[in-house]
Symmetry: C2
Subunit: 396 residues, 2 copies
C-alpha cells in the first residue's frame, strides 16, 4: 500500500487541476470556444522570438556534449554569472555565480530551500491568500504551514497579524509578490513593516527566520509599477524565480534561486541547497534552457496582451456590478463573491460554462480567482455569461 501522506493527497488532489479536467470535459461537450476557462495559470501568449533564436544559435555554435551534458549541480557557471550581472544592473546588487543556483522551475527552488531548512515540526508562515502548493511543499519535509489571515481589503499583509503567527519554530516566511491569486504587489511600506516584525522576532527568539520570496510574476507588473527587491528590505531573504510566465515557458521548468552572501549561514545553506537540488531528483536545471535563459536574460516581457485582458475583464465585471481587487501584477483577478459563498458561486458559474477557482482553495474564502492569461476573445465572449451570473446575484 502507499504511504499515509500520499494516500491523503491522492484522495484530496488539487482543486485547480480538477477544474482543468472539468474544462476539458465541457470543451468536449460544448466546443472549446463556448467554454470560458479562467481556471489555469497557463500563459496563452507564445514565447518571444528570442527564445527560438537562442535555441537555434546554441545548437549551431556550442558543443552537444556541453549543451546537453552534466554540469555542476548548481548550474553552468557562465549562465549563473550572466543572470547575476543582469540582477546587479537592475537592483544595484553585487551578486556573482556563487549566489545563484539554477533550478527546475520555481517549484524546485522552493523545495530545495524547504528541504535545506526544515526539521519535522518547523513552521513556515505565509500570508493568505496563497498559492495552494506551498502547503504541500512544506509538508514534504514534515513542516507546518502557518497561515496568516488577510485583514485588509487591499490584501496587503499586515505586520501585527504576522507577529501573532511567528513562534520559536518559525524558519521561514514565504512571500509571493506580485501575488497569486490576488494580483497585488506588496508595497515598500508593507515590506518594511513585515521586516521589522521578523527582525524583532529573530532577536526575541535568537533564531534565523528567512523570507523565501517566490517571484515568478516579477516581470508582470502593469502601468510601470515597481516590484520591490525584497533583499533590500530584509537581510535574510532568499529569492526564487522562474521564466515560466515572463518568457511563457512553464513546461520547460527553468528557474533559479538567489542567495545573497549576507544571509545567516550563507555558505552552509548554499552547499546544502545544491545537494538538495541533486537528491530531490532534479540533479540540475534542464541544460539547454539554462543556456537559453542566459541569452534571454534581458528580453523584455511583452505585457500588452495581458494588460489589455486585465483592463477588459476588470472593467467588464465591475460594470456588471461585481467587486474585485484591481490587479497591479500577475495575471489574476481576485473577485469578491456577492454572498460570500465561493464554492456555490463557482458551481453556478460552471452552469454558464465559466470556469473560475473558489478562493477557499487559496485560503481566501469569499472570493474567486480568474486567470486572465487567456485569449482576448475568451474574455469578450465570456461577458454575456458573466452578465447572467450577475443577474442571478441581483447585481445591476
Amino acid at each position: 500500500m502507499i504511504s499515509k501522506k500520499m494516500l491523503r493527497l491522492a484522495q484530496g488532489s488539487s482543486t485547480i487541476r480538477a477544474m482543468f479536467e472539468e474544462g476539458s470535459r465541457l470543451a468536449a461537450l460544448y466546443g472549446r470556444e463556448n467554454v470560458y476557462d479562467f481556471s489555469l495559470g497557463n500563459p496563452n501568449f507564445p514565447a518571444p522570438p528570442e527564445v527560438k533564436s537562442a535555441i537555434l544559435d546554441i545548437l549551431d555554435s556550442e558543443e552537444s556534449t556541453m549543451v546537453h551534458g552534466y554540469m555542476s549541480n548548481a548550474g553552468y557557471g557562465d549562465v549563473r554569472a550572466a543572470i547575476a550581472a543582469s540582477l546587479n544592473r537592475r537592483f544595484g546588487t553585487a551578486y556573482t555565480e556563487h549566489n545563484l543556483i539554477m533550478t527546475v522551475g520555481a517549484a524546485s527552488g522552493l523545495n530545495i530551500f524547504l528541504k535545506t531548512l526544515l526539521d519535522p515540526g518547523d513552521e513556515v508562515a505565509v500570508p493568505a491568500p496563497y498559492f495552494v502548493e506551498y502547503g504541500n511543499y512544506v509538508r514534504n519535509y514534515d513542516g507546518e504551514l502557518v497561515v496568516v489571515p488577510p485583514t485588509r481589503p487591499d490584501f496587503q499583509p499586515e505586520a501585527a497579524e504576522l507577529a501573532r503567527h511567528i513562534t520559536p519554530r518559525t524558519k521561514a516566511l514565504i512571500l509571493n509578490t506580485p501575488n497569486n491569486p490576488t494580483g497585488v504587489i506588496y508595497t515598500p511600506e508593507t515590506l518594511k513593516a513585515l521586516a521589522e516584525v521578523l527582525e524583532a522576532k529573530q532577536k526575541e527568539y535568537d533564531t534565523s527566520i528567512y523570507i523565501i520570496s517566490d517571484e515568478p510574476y516579477r516581470e508582470l507588473a502593469y502601468d510601470g509599477a515597481f516590484v520591490p527587491w525584497i533583499p533590500d528590505y530584509y537581510r535574510n531573504t532568499i529569492v526564487g524565480y522562474s521564466w515560466s510566465k515572463s518568457l511563457s515557458l512553464p513546461g520547460e521548468r527553468i528557474g533559479y534561486v538567489v542567495l545573497p552572501a549576507e544571509i545567516d549561514d550563507f555558505q552552509l545553506i548554499f552547499d546544502a541547497a545544491v545537494i538538495a537540488n541533486r537528491i530531490i531528483g532534479s540533479v540540475n536545471a534542464p541544460s539547454l534552457f539554462q543556456r537559453v535563459a542566459a541569452r534571454c536574460v534581458d528580453v523584455k516581457t511583452d505585457l500588452s496582451g495581458y494588460d489589455a485582458n486585465r483592463k477588459m475583464l476588470y472593467q467588464g465585471l465591475t460594470d456588471l456590478g461585481f467587486e474585485a481587487v484591481y490587479p497591479d501584477g500577475a495575471f489574476y483577478l481576485w473577485l469578491k463573491v456577492p454572498d460570500g459563498d465561493d464554492a456555490a458561486f463557482s458551481q453556478r458559474a460552471k452552469s454558464y460554462n465559466l470556469l473560475v477557482v473558489p478562493g477557499s482553495g487559496f485560503a481566501g474564502p469569499g472570493y474567486v480567482r480568474l486567470a486572465y492569461c487567456v485569449g482576448a476573445d475568451t474574455i469578450r465572449a465570456s461577458l454575456p455569461a458573466f452578465k447572467k451570473l450577475a443577474a442571478d446575484y441581483g447585481l445591476r
Copy 2:
C-alpha cells in the same frame, strides 16, 4: 540553522562529485590532456543528429504555447502513447499512455515512487554494489536502505542472500541492470530466482513488494547482449528510464516511468505518483524534450565508441595483470584492487593523474570504478600511467 538531515549531507557530500572537483584542479595544474579522469558518468559522445533535427522540426511545426506550455503533470498524452507503442513493439507488452509518467530524468522517477510508497521506517533493499544516490533518495522519505551484499565473483545478486534481507517492512527492491558500477547485466536466471524470493515473501508477510527497475543503461548492452524486461519476470515491477545515456542528454533531465496495470494498487499508485511528480517540485518533465524524446524513441544508440573503449580498457588493464569484471553493459569497468584497499589505490592512482572512484562509495569495497565514457585518446594515453600503478602493486 539548517535541518539535521541536510547538515549531515552537507558535511558528507558525494565522493564522485569530489573527484570531479579534484579532476578540475589537476587539469588546471597539469593540463586537461595529462589528467585521466575516469570518475564521472558523463557521456563523452554528442547527442545523435536526430535530436537536433527533432528540435528544429518541432520549433518550426508546433505551436509555442503547446511546445513550451503546461500539460498534464504526467506528461503529454501523445508523447506517452508514442513511448508505450515503442515498448510494445520491443517487449510484446500492451501499455498505453495510462501506464507512463514522464519524469525529470530517472532520478525524479525513482523519487516519485519512493515518495509514493514509503512511510518512515519502511525498507528498500538493493543489491550491492549500487549507485550511491539510492540511499539519499530513500532517506528523503525517512525510509531505510537495506544493502544486500554481493556473494558471487560475477556480481549477479544471489536469491538466498536477498531472502535474508527482506522483512515485513520491505516496500521495494531497487534493481539496476545493466549495472552501475559493475557493468553486469542481470541474467534471466538471476531475475527468476529473485522474483521467486519476493513472491514467497509477499505471501509470507501478506505485503506488496515492488521491484523498482532503474534502467538508464538499458540501451548500452554490448555484443548484442539481451537485457531482460523485468516485468516479464515479476508482476509488481515499476520501470524507470532516462535518455541521459542512450541519447547523451544527461543535462536535459528527461525520462519516464512505466507502471504496468498488473501491479498491486495500480491506479492509486499512478495517481499518487503524478501528484508526487508535481509536489516534489518537478511539476512535469521538461516539455520540449518530452516532444524530442517521442520523435527519437526508435533512434538506435551508437555503441561503437563505448564498445571500443570497453575493449581497449579491459584488454589494456588485464594485460598489465589487473583483474576486472568483463562489462556486458553500461560504460563502467569494475576493477579489483590487488591488495583490497580501494581508498589507498585511488589515492595512489591520483599520484599518476588517474582518477578512479573507490568501490566503497558503492558499497563495493576492494574494487574501483572506471567510467570509460571518455575519449579513446584518454584511455590510450592513460595506459602508461596504469603500467606504473601496476608496477607499484607488483603486477607483471
